[in-house]
């Protein structure tokens, strides 16, 4: 035979076509197209000596170790066995075309000339995936275990989530040791859920969402993990961790229900032993923005500006004090206070408290004194003192007898005009208490 190798298309004719083919001819053409393709053959012209059973002249088409037909006669005639269907498709990438002629082409003593045949062939992509049930694939053992994807001239296999394609590129093995979920919500389940999960698994499903989001886990029904009546989860275990800290270890048929993790990083670990046929588990995880605890005033003088019903990540609150009180954090006075709700649901600084303003001890008045009008020694907001000069030797510069000062909200003693400067006691001149008096006249 004369092979025609690896052409994607071509023409096959009888010898000397379109002139009459020779007698006593016998050859086989092997049509080979690249692997992954089938051979499609179409007869455009067919004019061979007709005979019963195509005993004299014939064209035989073979593929896939099978004869697809033995043909003779003319396409438009019912004599012989013309290839009426016209198209022949192989399953493999090879097709054979055998052309046989006998010693003559005579009818009633008259030589008749037949033109032979003209056929075109072309490579047609083979759908290996649909053909996987075929004997060829079965025999070769190359069958996609999970999913098959046909491509032009080839195919490839893949595995369902949780499985990994093996080196043979056809078989799949459970692989769930580092599954990562970053969407804001989604589903996670044991392999094959709700069918029995595979054995000998070490699965780690990590959920990582943006800072400031908290993950909620909702276990769906059915929930079924191998358990033991006396020992806690001896066979298979489902463990939940948040930020590396264990939340719980679960098995049996009682679902954990809903777990609010208050974390943006959750790891679900699932270990199975070599046996079991429980149906597994499925989690619907959702996220919500992290919320902070509702701020509470530490005292009645604290004002939380524009108090919200709820504070969530990146919200902030501003705290001030009632007049006469000052923001205090520890022992430190603050000019202002802002706290931000953090991604872990805590406030970035604790609530301050409002301490009553203390003006400190009143400034000593040179050549004068002060006395408390309110409680003795009280130097806090709204306390009042009275400054007086040491009369009659000194008097106030403004001639007043005395001046009342009040501890202001600003933490300073101020007079009724809002002045911080304390009075000034000026010496009284020319007024001796014991002036010279001459009585003798």
């Amino acid at each position: 035979s004369i092979p025609i190798v690896h052409e994607l298309y071509g023409e096959v004719t009888s010898p000397m076509y379109p002139k009459p083919y020779p007698n006593n001819y016998d050859d086989t053409r092997e049509i080979v197209v690249p692997k992954g393709y089938s051979v499609k053959l179409i007869f455009w012209q067919f004019d061979l000596e007709p005979s019963e059973g195509c005993f004299y002249d014939y064209v035989k088409v073979s593929a896939d170790k099978k004869d697809l037909g033995r043909f003779c006669g003319q396409l438009e005639s019912k004599r012989g066995n013309p290839p009426v269907q016209k198209e022949f498709v192989s399953q493999g990438n090879q097709m054979w075309l055998t052309f046989h002629t006998d010693f003559s082409n005579e009818e009633n003593g008259t030589t008749i000339f037949y033109k032979g045949f003209l056929a075109y062939y072309q490579a047609v992509d083979m759908d290996e995936c649909s053909a996987q049930d075929s004997a060829i694939e079965e025999n070769s053992g190359l069958r996609c275990e999970h999913l098959c994807h046909n491509t032009l001239g080839s195919y490839f296999c893949s595995c369902r989530p949780g499985y990994e394609l093996q080196d043979d590129e056809h078989s799949c093995r459970a692989e769930c040791s580092s599954e990562l979920f970053t969407e804001a919500s989604g589903y996670i389940s044991s392999l094959e859920y709700p069918k029995a999960y595979p054995s000998d698994m070490r699965c780690n499903y990590s959920i990582r969402v943006d800072r400031g989001l908290t993950i909620n886990l909702e276990f769906l029904e059915p929930f079924e993990i191998d358990d033991h009546q006396q020992v806690h989860c001896p066979y298979d275990q489902l463990q939940v961790y948040t930020n590396g800290k264990p939340v719980g270890e679960y098995c049996g048929t009682r679902s954990p229900g809903i777990i609010n993790t208050s974390s943006n990083a959750v790891d679900v670990l699932f270990f199975t032993d070599e046996s079991g046929d429980s149906r597994g588990w499925k989690i619907h995880y959702t996220t919500e923005v992290m919320k902070c605890l509702q701020p509470k005033s530490l005292d009645e003088f604290t004002i939380i500006n524009n108090l919200q019903q709820q504070y969530q990540f990146r919200d902030y609150l501003i705290v001030s004090c009632k007049t006469g009180y000052e923001l205090t954090e520890g022992n430190q006075k603050l000019k202002s206070f802002t706290s931000v709700c953090q991604d872990d649901g805590t406030w970035h600084r604790p609530m301050p408290y409002c301490k009553i303003v203390n003006c400190g001890a009143p400034q000593r008045l040179p050549n004068g004194n002060f006395e408390y009008l309110t409680k003795e020694g009280k130097n806090t907001y709204q306390a009042e003192i009275l400054y007086t000069c040491q009369e009659p030797f000194y008097q106030m510069a403004n001639k007043e007898k005395n001046e009342t000062y009040t501890c202001s909200a600003q933490g300073t003693w101020k007079d009724k005009h809002g002045n911080k400067k304390i009075p000034h006691c000026l010496p009284v001149c020319g007024k001796p208490l014991n002036p010279v008096v001459e009585n003798q006249r």
């Binding site: 040179p366 030797f393 010496p427 020319g430 001796p432 208490l433 014991n434 002036p435």
Partner: protein
């Protein structure tokens, strides 16, 4: 003080005792200033000695007691710029201010005197009081004495000096006080003390003059620096330094 009387505590609470080139007087202004005569600091007849100590005492009528109360440190000295210590016959501008280092606590025996603000304190015949620790008939006393003297008309002062054939200058910045018929007068050691006049309307005592000079003691009139002429100078310094 000639022909005076002993002062009682509190009679002249502004009275200062100074010891510079000798005994002198002064008067407390406010609670940090001493008004005195320039010639107690730069005497006319004594070559000035640099860094002469200026000791000032306040608060009593007895020298021993007043000194027990402690000397008052001086921060600065302001002598009138027009005072000429070299002109023996001219006591014009005989006025000075001493600034105390610290304010003094006013009390019964320590009170300032007021400055004059009117010519009415210089009317002839107006009685004033002069006090001091100066000599009396060549006897020096340890107790503060005072004498009351009338203000004399300027013409009479001038005529008296003429009669005495005195070459001393009697400027507009001076006045004279005394009574030719009595010996009452100030004397050496009273310089710098003030001629105090009672302001009856204001019920206060005013430093109308500063004991400055005289021709002998107790023999006519005494001459005083007219403080009214210097109130701007005084206030200017005090305000600037406060």
């Amino acid at each position: 003080i000639i022909a005076g009387k002993n002062a009682r505590l509190g009679n002249f609470p502004w009275q200062a005792f100074t010891n510079i080139y000798g005994r002198g007087g002064g008067a407390l202004l406010g609670d940090r200033w001493i008004l005195t005569a320039a010639h107690t600091i730069y005497p006319k007849d004594t070559p000035s000695v640099q860094n002469t100590s200026i000791d000032v005492f306040l608060g009593h009528t007895n020298l021993e007691e007043i000194m027990k109360m402690g000397v008052l440190p001086i921060r600065s000295v302001f002598v009138h710029p027009d005072y000429d210590p070299n002109d023996l016959n001219n006591f014009d501008n005989d006025i000075a201010l001493l600034e105390l280092e610290n304010s003094v606590p006013l009390g019964l025996n320590l009170l300032p005197i007021c400055l004059p603000d009117s010519e009415t304190f210089y009317e002839k015949g107006l009685m004033g009081y002069v006090s001091g620790f100066g000599t009396e008939d060549q006897i020096i006393h340890d107790d503060l004495k005072f004498v009351s003297l009338p203000m004399v008309a300027r013409e009479n002062c001038r005529r008296w000096l003429s009669e005495k054939k005195s070459e001393q200058v009697f400027s507009d910045n001076m006045f004279c006080a005394g009574d030719k018929t009595t010996k009452k007068d100030a004397c050496q050691g009273d310089s710098g003390g003030v001629f105090a006049v009672k302001d009856e309307t204001g019920n206060r005592w005013v430093a109308a003059g500063i004991v400055s000079w005289g021709i002998g003691c107790g023999k006519g009139y005494g001459f005083y620096t007219k403080v009214l002429k210097y109130t701007d100078w005084i206030k200017g310094i005090i305000e600037k330094e406060s």
